[in-house]
């Protein structure tokens, strides 16, 4: 009898324990076939409303798994776009979900694109939503389209699976600006109150291809002040900004040395930029120290790079070119746009917290007046596989 009672007790405890599992109430089991995989989000301004465009991957069109049927030969047609509008982004999503039989799944968003108008209207409310959603990845790239975001997402790239993937890969290459959702959130809440996002344009369609068979590419940088876009700068200036932000990873510099015909191109192996803020007697100064190690990529002159003096002359030229580029960027961003995307505010805040706190309210007035000195030092590490210029007789080489 005792044994029986014990067993009964055990069974009761077991059921209590099992039932506890169901008390949590939310069961988020979803079959993968019931999900709409979003790879890219586009946010456009449509009058007063927000238009949300999502780029969805259609697994059916991918052809994997059903390779036996082999019907999918077109390629590059694996994505579709759908749009929804609403007063806010959340409204727009609700509107969009009405038009989709599958549940939107944000776990694989690769690129978030703002249309130019939406960017000009301010991105803060959108950013709040994007960072609040648990499914969203903080690693997704954020970009600004020079037209509408929808037009970018609609593209069907010939090589990559989706245009979002194209934008992510281009951002990752870090030739130009690269910003993730996390970066943007940080930039917006920083002392600088300015942000720089990569700008995308649509590559002109090749002849014989349909209108959509092309890719978006990163070209220039959108400059944000507070959360609103105030303008954009081109490729060259972006490179200058990257130097200042210590973000330059890959760049070629082409110079010609005085008194010598032809040009020489060097590529950066390693570059480092240091911002040294100075506050003296009420005047704000900034010294920008740039050091970089380069390799020679191309030598179209008759200069022998075996000669140390030639190398020194070349290094000076390269430094001059770099400084010029950085100064041009400063001119535009600091003086004209007055947007501190260079991180000057942070540098001052760190070194002179008291003084900075006094002026932080009128930083906008101070920033354009900062005296910036750019000091560049470039060393050439390797002249490449050849020491002498190739393709000319040895007598013509200037040793």
């Amino acid at each position: 009898m005792n044994k029986y009672k014990k067993r009964k007790k055990c069974v009761i405890y077991f059921f209590i324990c099992v039932n506890c599992l169901f008390l949590s109430g939310c069961w988020d089991r979803t079959e993968i076939n019931d999900l709409a995989l979003v790879t890219g989000i586009g946010i456009d301004q449509k009058g007063k409303d927000v238009m949300l465009t999502v780029q969805l991957i259609v697994p059916k069109l991918l052809g994997a798994g059903t390779s036996m049927n082999g019907s999918n030969t077109g390629g590059g047609g694996a994505t579709i776009v759908r749009s929804g509008t609403g007063k806010t982004l959340a409204d727009a999503i609700a509107n969009l979900q009405e038009k989709l039989p599958r549940r939107l799944f944000w776990g694989h968003v690769k690129a978030i694109v703002f249309g130019e108008k939406a960017a000009e209207a301010g991105i803060r409310p959108h950013m709040d939503f994007l960072s609040r959603n648990p499914q969203m990845r903080l690693r997704s790239n954020v970009l600004v389209a020079s037209g509408t975001a929808k037009s970018v997402l609609e593209l069907l790239p010939p090589i990559e699976q989706s245009s979002a993937e194209v934008m992510r890969e281009l951002s990752k290459s870090e030739i130009l600006m690269n910003a993730t959702l996390k970066d943007v959130l940080q930039m917006l809440s920083d002392d600088t109150r300015a942000a720089a996002l990569p700008m995308v344009k649509i590559l002109p369609v090749e002849k014989g291809k349909t209108k959509l068979e092309t890719i978006p590419f990163i070209n220039g940088t959108a400059i944000f002040k507070k959360d609103k876009m105030i303008g954009s700068i081109g490729d060259k200036l972006t490179r200058g900004v990257l130097w200042l932000r210590n973000e330059i990873k890959q760049a070629n510099i082409t110079v010609s040395v005085k008194g010598v015909k032809g040009k020489i191109t060097a590529t950066i192996i390693h570059a480092h930029t240091q911002l040294i803020p100075k506050y003296e007697k009420g005047s704000w100064k900034m010294v920008v120290n740039i050091t970089s190690q380069d390799d020679i990529l191309l030598n179209a002159t008759n200069f022998s790079l075996y000669n140390e003096q030639h190398i020194h002359r070349l290094e000076k030229e390269l430094a001059r070119a770099t400084t010029a580029r950085v100064e041009a960027a400063l001119q535009k961003v600091q003086k004209e746009m007055n947007a501190d995307i260079l991180g000057f505010a942070d540098a001052f805040h760190r070194k002179y917290p008291k003084e900075w706190n006094r002026v932080k309210k009128r930083w906008d007035e101070i920033f354009p007046t900062i005296e910036v000195t750019v000091k560049t030092k470039i060393t050439i590490q390797r002249p490449g596989m050849n020491t002498t210029p190739q393709g000319i007789p040895a007598e013509e080489v200037e040793k």
Binding site: K60, G65, H108
Partner: protein
């Protein structure tokens, strides 16, 4: 920590009344042989009523004294009976009991001659293949140890194949098995205790251990657990295993069974106890830990670096065999954000036309795989090819083409199947294979949370298990750093100076120090050291 070495007593001193079989046995044993040959023969004949294979051969010793030879046809070497025993017995001149005593004890050219005084003893000898000679006017019978029956020759054990290592395996004959062990461990310290189990089968059991290495408490416990077995028959060591286990409800094997003499010898040398049984090539070794079930004898025959790598591979595939299908289901139904996008797209594309949820798909495929495996084991060899064709083509390719299961699922199931076979002990592998199913259900209903829950339950269960008093997860839990050298890695032999502390308690030193080969440092040094010793 001392309590670990004390095996938990499982046997109770029971004073219950004897069972029917025991009573019967006792009564039989008691009646002694009489001086009357006719009566003795009649008693035996009544015992062996309706046993057509028992031969009663009346004869006269030395042409005068009446006698009867009793034996079971097929268990006795008749050639020897004809050529050695019968001629010398029948042609001898012995007439009185003293002379006969002399004849059997000194002139008969048979090594093993024993006397039987009771009917029960006679029966025992007859059943084990020893002919019995009942002589008139004597209350003792003589038995001749010339048993011989058909045996399988030594073969390589198919269940535990090795690339390097001895190729002989145990057979069904207890004597052969014991001789195999004795040939490995020649020291007289190898002790064997014999007992009989099974009321009807009267199966010979031998407990083998090495005196001075195996701890006495362990030996006592083994004997006690064996002694309480009261069953009609023992046909395989698994019968014994089930009757002496610490936790009979656990899916995990708590006793090692092996067909390899070298495995048994190695375990004896670590202070474990082996249980051999007549009629099966499988020998039990106790106690074991979970990690020793994941070791193959070849780990010690291959180079130690290779063995260590293979051990890690086994641990990895152990996890795969337990978790891969459930992880796949969990990720596919709960955690889609965890998969790299491209992989997820491939998986979702392949699942697009599948009519079942991932959970159902996984269960179906796993069950089909288990059925294929079971059929492969049971089927006659001639039909084996058919199964593999059906398995590979129909289940693999056709099912994917027909859109019933997805290709990634086939890969998952195949990988899991292979993974479970990397575990050297079949019993351990099959336990994990079985646990895979509840894990899939947990994954399908609670996702990764469910998998963690399942893993916790399994781990807790394993941590509570003991094999003859030794914690099942030792030396990992309880952690014993010194003994980890044979778990995560396989240390070189010259570093294994100590026996495991949980089993080889009496004599911990396994080998002398300085076993590391060191030819460059000069032989002289080591030689000198040895001389000083």
């Amino acid at each position: 920590m001392r309590f670990f070495y004390q095996p938990r007593k499982l046997t109770k001193n029971r004073s219950e009344p004897l069972t029917a079989t025991q009573k019967e046995r006792q009564e039989e044993r008691q009646d002694a042989l009489s001086f009357d040959l006719a009566q003795n023969v009649q008693t035996l004949q009544s015992i062996y009523e309706n046993c057509s294979d028992v031969v009663f051969r009346p004869l006269r010793v030395g042409g005068t004294t009446k006698a009867t030879l009793v034996y079971i046809d097929g268990l006795v070497n008749v050639d020897e009976l004809d050529s050695i025993i019968l001629p010398s017995v029948m042609k001898s001149t012995a007439s009185d009991p003293l002379e006969m005593q002399h004849l059997f004890e000194q002139t008969l050219t048979v090594a093993n001659i024993q006397k039987a005084k009771t009917v029960a003893e006679c029966v025992e000898h007859i059943s084990s293949g020893h002919p019995i000679l009942l002589i008139d006017q004597q209350n003792e019978a003589f038995s001749f140890g010339i048993a011989k029956w058909e045996k399988r020759s030594l073969e390589e054990p198919t269940g535990e194949a090795v690339i390097r290592g001895p190729r002989e395996g145990f057979t069904e004959s207890l004597g052969t098995n014991l001789s195999l062990l004795r040939r490995k461990i020649k020291s007289p310290k190898l002790k064997t205790k014999s007992m009989k189990l099974g009321a009807y089968t009267q199966t010979n059991i031998i407990i083998a251990y090495i005196d001075g290495i195996a701890s006495d408490t362990l030996l006592e416990e083994v004997e006690a657990r064996l002694a309480r077995i009261d069953i009609d028959g023992i046909l395989e060591t698994s019968y014994i295993e089930e009757l002496i286990e610490d936790n009979p409800y656990s899916p995990f094997p708590q006793v090692l069974s092996t067909e390899r003499p070298d495995v048994v010898a190695a375990n004896l040398l670590e202070g474990r106890v082996a249980i051999l049984q007549d009629g099966t090539p499988f020998v039990l070794v106790v106690p074991v830990s979970f990690y020793s079930l994941l070791q193959s004898s070849e780990d010690y025959y291959q180079r130690h670096l290779v063995s260590t790598a293979i051990r890690w591979l086994r641990y990895l595939f152990l996890l795969i065999s337990l978790l891969l299908p459930s992880l796949y289901v969990a990720v596919l139904t709960f955690h889609q954000e965890m998969v790299p996008t491209t992989l997820l797209l491939t998986m979702s594309a392949s699942r697009e036309l599948i009519p079942f949820p991932a959970l159902v798909e996984a269960i179906i495929m796993e069950i089909v795989f288990e059925a294929l495996r079971e059929a492969g084991v049971r089927l006659p060899k001639q039909a084996g090819a058919a199964v593999s064709i059906v398995g590979a083509l129909v289940i693999g390719q056709a099912a994917v083409q027909a859109g019933i299961v997805s290709a990634p699922m086939i890969i998952v199931v195949a990988l899991t199947g292979i993974a479970s076979f990397t575990i050297p002990r079949y019993t351990a592998g099959i336990a994990l294979r079985m646990l895979r199913f509840p894990m899939i259900f947990l994954a399908g209903s609670l996702g990764l949370l469910g998998i963690m829950l399942g893993l916790l339950i399994i781990l807790t269960h394993m941590a509570t298990l003991r094999s003859f008093g030794v914690p099942y997860l030792s030396p990992m839990a309880p952690m014993q750093g010194r003994e980890m050298k044979d778990v995560l890695i396989r240390v070189p032999l010259w570093k294994r100076n100590k026996r495991p502390r949980l089993t080889g308690t009496d004599n911990l030193t396994r080998q002398g120090p300085n076993q590391k080969p060191n030819p460059l440092d000069g032989d002289d040094k080591t030689r000198k050291e040895n001389r000083h010793d």
